[in-house]
Symmetry: C2
Amino acid sequence: MSTAIASKQISTRTKSSFPIGVIGKSSSPAPADKQGANLDELGTAHVVPRGKTVAEEGAPAEYVFKVVSGAFRMVRLLPDGRRSVIDFLLPGDYFGLAENSTYSHSLEVISDASFVRYPKDQLRQLLDSDPRASRRFFSLMCGQLAAAQDRLLMLSRKSAVERIASFVLAMADRSQRKDGAIKLPMNRADVADYLGLTIETVSRTLSQLKSEKVIELPTACQIVLLDRDRLKAISGDQ
Amino acid sequence: MSTAIASKQISTRTKSSFPIGVIGKSSSPAPADKQGANLDELGTAHVVPRGKTVAEEGAPAEYVFKVVSGAFRMVRLLPDGRRSVIDFLLPGDYFGLAENSTYSHSLEVISDASFVRYPKDQLRQLLDSDPRASRRFFSLMCGQLAAAQDRLLMLSRKSAVERIASFVLAMADRSQRKDGAIKLPMNRADVADYLGLTIETVSRTLSQLKSEKVIELPTACQIVLLDRDRLKAISGDQ
DNA sequence: CGGCGCCTTGAATAATATCAACGATAGTGG
DNA sequence: CCACTATCGTTGATATTATTCAAGGCGCCG
């Protein structure tokens, strides 16, 4: 099932082709680190094509992943095949830190992507020995937890329009360009499984917002915000 | 708005009337700790009556709470008053670690309760200086995140019966006695806001499970499992 | 015993899912 | 370069689920 993944060792000496972030110390040239292991030395970089499954639900959780480019979805299945997209991962996001001995989610590539992968036990060791890295990851976890809790509120109490509006706003915030068209890397099915709706409801609701001149849809995967305030009001927050 | 809360300083010398857990070192007599501050010295114990709000959404997040006895709900409101119970907290559970500068949830007492409260910045300091405490809290956070993700799946894709079945099973697991009747500290409204349903749907669905001989309801707040396997099958997991 | 809060149940309604058909778009091979 | 095909997205009609509205019941406490 698992096909080859492009892989290479990252050296702190070699200029990597990926903008790999350094944690627990300044991102500059990297002076000798008396703490011993550091993230750069731990990780290997990989390039993966759209559709690829990088980590599989139920498999031993050996690695922690950091997205470098592209987009991923974190997926969980019910035995009968119903699917939930627990989160979308964009550059800078991590996967696998909170997983137990086996992954409880699959990590799938939405659009051609690259990532860095760290052996989980080595990363844990680093966290134990390096207070700065530890603090960094602790606050990452806090962010993830807060995001999950936001979504709990959304899924338990918001209507379809409110969910879509919240989603569009969130994607606009995560997107680099704040003004122009937002590029959605995921398809309608992914959005539906993320928001707890069906493909049809997602489509209909986006059409509705379009007809109300709140957004524009130049293509299916591009969204232009015409009335951000209105969208925020519709989203139900504040 | 905030009425008096019973409060007293905890001394490591005094035998506390609460079973306050010690983190980052053995729970025995407490030898001098070269790390300096430890959790016992940080915390103050409090007793609170049912209905009391211990932390308010939007207020400065100054404390982290650990439940000692009783039960709490962690609540979030939408501007129009819709309510979501993000989680129930039982003895041993923590609140407030992942909160930002202000609480994004209220913490409300469901049944007469007691808790220990730690100034957040002091706890943070302890986490920075004590690797064992840090590890402990890191794994607590992992557990909370995993639980939140389970609930995301539930809220996005499970039907009313499946949610109720999952909830009953989860409460049975968290409850002390595994065999006899489960005591629910929360009312139907709390369950509804936790599962993203209405009071009526919760009531109807429990009645349905009762009529199918899967559970018994001696009183509204007691549940007896008659057929755990069946309940697990209904819950949709595995 | 009476009142109040909480729970249950029924009937009608609304929201979203499902089923089905059609349309658009992108990738492929002639 | 164009046509074909597969995939994805949109839209409509209908079905289903859960909500809303409404009434009544149960238990607890004064």
